[in-house]
Each structure stands twice: as structure tokens, then as C-alpha cells.
Symmetry: C2
Subunit: 208 residues, 2 copies
């Protein structure tokens, strides 16, 4: 396994909770776990450190970096403005096929909420956001969002378990879809920002 593969595998392992915040990431253990040599493991650790998923201290090795609630809120504030930009741009670039697709996702989300399928809703949530990014085709925004997402996974999990969260977010997602499909960039941006403001508020409520 080369360093890019280790990096991908380790990132996924962290995102899925196999390695938890503050956990030591011992090189020799990672070599065994991923079937790689130290060279590749060290390179992967360096990259994941640059990404903010891992922290390293000289002579003391690497740990999964813990993202505080305050930091999660700041990250969400950045997401609010950047995903607002994405939504606005999607509204500008939308094709008819895109519109159909967004409507379809919206309908599936409503069904998932009505039938109480939280996992499906969560998947569709991710799919909606990804679709907007595809439509918008703003490379730099995509890069930033991808990077920030890795750091938020734990808090997102916590949020998804808040009762009523799906119901609340459904209306917001639908508003985003409606505005984008209406090809109204300003409304799309506003709707997306309102949605993520609601995420921020829910995060703040977690801290109380």
C-alpha cells in the first residue's frame, strides 16, 4: 500500500470511528493495520495532519485530533457562507435534468421522514448537498467543503441523533431545492444559509 492509499484508508477509518479523538496513532501499529511500511504511514500521517484530522507533536507521535464544539461551530459558519455560494451558483447553472434530480431527492427525503427512516434521510441529505456541488462546479468550494467535512463527522453524528432534527431540516432542504429549481441565486443562498444557521443553533444547543 502506497502513501495515498494509506491516507485514504486511514481517513476513512477515522471518519467511521475506528480511531476516536485523542487516540494515539502509533506508526508501527498502523503499518500492521494497513499492511504498509513506515515511509507510507508517515507520509499519510503528515497529509492528514495538514488536513486537520490528525495532530502530531514532536517526538510524541500522532493522535486523532479532537474537534471542539466551538471549532465545529466555526467550521459550520464557514460552511454556511461557502455552501451558500454553491447553492447560488447551482441556481445559475441548473439544467432541466438537474432540476428533476433535485426534486426527486426532495421527494425521497420527505418519504424518509414520513416513514421514520433516519439513516436513509441522512444519506439523502448528503446526496442533496453533493448534487448541488456537482451542479455548481466550483472547484475551490468543493475542496474546502470536502476538507471541512472530515473534521465535522463526529458532531454531525451527534446532531443526527437529536430528536426532531430530520423534520426540522427537511423543510429547510426543501426550501433550498425550491429556490435552486426556481433559478433564483439569492434565494438559494439565503435558504442554504438559513439551513446551516439552524445546524449552528443545534450545535450550540448541544453544548448546553
Amino acid at each position: 500500500m502506497d502513501d495515498a492509499q494509506v491516507r485514504e484508508a486511514l481517513r476513512e477509518a477515522i471518519l467511521r470511528g475506528e480511531f476516536v479523538p485523542r487516540q494515539r496513532l502509533v506508526e508501527v501499529d498502523l503499518c500492521e493495520r494497513f499492511g504498509a511500511r513506515r515511509f507510507a504511514v508517515r507520509a499519510a500521517l503528515q497529509d492528514l495532519t495538514a488536513e486537520g484530522l490528525v495532530e502530531r507533536q514532536p517526538n510524541r507521535g500522532a493522535r486523532v485530533r479532537e474537534v471542539s464544539l466551538d471549532e465545529a461551530i466555526e467550521i459550520s459558519e464557514i460552511r454556511r457562507v461557502v455552501e451558500g455560494l454553491v447553492a447560488a451558483r447551482a441556481a445559475e447553472r441548473l439544467t432541466d435534468a438537474d432540476a428533476s434530480r433535485l426534486k426527486s431527492i426532495g421527494q425521497q427525503m420527505r418519504t424518509a421522514v414520513e416513514t421514520g427512516e433516519a439513516g436513509t434521510y441522512s444519506d439523502l441529505n448528503a446526496e442533496l448537498h453533493a448534487t448541488l456541488r456537482e451542479i455548481a462546479r466550483h472547484e475551490m468550494a468543493n475542496r474546502i467543503i470536502a476538507q471541512l467535512r472530515g473534521q465535522m463527522v463526529r458532531h454531525q453524528f451527534a446532531l443526527s441523533r437529536v430528536p426532531g432534527r430530520s423534520v426540522a431540516s427537511l423543510a429547510q432542504h426543501e426550501a433550498v431545492i425550491d429556490a435552486v429549481v426556481a433559478r433564483d441565486p439569492a434565494a438559494a443562498e439565503t435558504a442554504m444559509q438559513a439551513h446551516i444557521t439552524s445546524v449552528i443553533e443545534a450545535l450550540r444547543a448541544l453544548g448546553r
Copy 2:
């Protein structure tokens, strides 16, 4: 010199134009240039690759990454929303001392434009943006802005040489200062976004 020092030195060298876009960054030459061993140079190259300043291809080494005009425009679009967030937050968090400082910078900028000191204006421009970031204290925004800045330096240089650019931007900067000092977050955000929209337009004009 350790890898952090090489990274800083190499970043600075790239930003100041010692190494130009597309230029090969040969490890052994960098070792000599920075008085470092290959280990440190390779680590620095890896980090600067993650930062987007350098690109590396397997077995073919590293080059200074060229940032296209299109990418510069996308970067500026991100800056527009993120620096808008910073301006709004600065407006919320401003102290009286902060206000005095911003006003002082604004006055110096006006003087620089009136006396035709483009270099001074450019420095003050950077200082204004940095001061807003200090006031806002949004760690994640600062990180993103710092990273994007490194990638924009070449296009910023091109912009600063556009005749009349300083005069045009002075009014915009003053509008930002006024809104922040007035503790009006929405106006601050709008003013900052208008300023960077103007940057984006100037960038687009460079391509024609």
C-alpha cells in the same frame, strides 16, 4: 534547518517570486539553497503540496504550482464570502481601540493614494485585512484565508499594477471601515463583498 523552517523559507521564496510557476523544485538544489537535508526538504515539499503552492508528480518531482486565472477567480469568490464573514464578525466584536486603529489605517491609505505611494498602499491594504481578522478572531476563517492567500500572490501582483486600482479600492476599503466602525455587521459584510467583487471583476478584465 528542520522541516518547518524549510517549509516557511520555501513558502516565502515562492511568494516573493524567487521560484516562479512551473519551475522545477529539485530536492538536491533545495537542500543546498536552504542548508537542509533531503528529509526536511521532502517533508516541506509535501506540506506545501498539501497547501496548494507546489505540485508533485510521482517520479517526476515537484514544481511551483501555476494558479490559472479561472482558479484565481474561484479563490476570490471564496474569499468574498469568507472575508465577508470576517468583516461582519469584526463589526460585532469591535472595541473602541479597534475602531481607532481602523480609522487610522483608513487615513493612511487615503494619504498613500493622494501621494501616489503604491507600495505603501499595498502594505496598508494587507494591514487592514489582517486587522479585521484579528478583531474578528475566527480561527477557521483565518486559516482558510491564509491558505488561499499564498495561491493568489501572483495575480495580486498583476492587479496591483493595474492603473487606477488603488483609487478604486480605496473607496471600497473606506466603506468597509465605516461599516465595521459603525458596528453594523450586515453592512460590513456587504461592503467587504462589494470590494472583493470588484477584485473579481478586475481579475476577469485581466483575462481579456
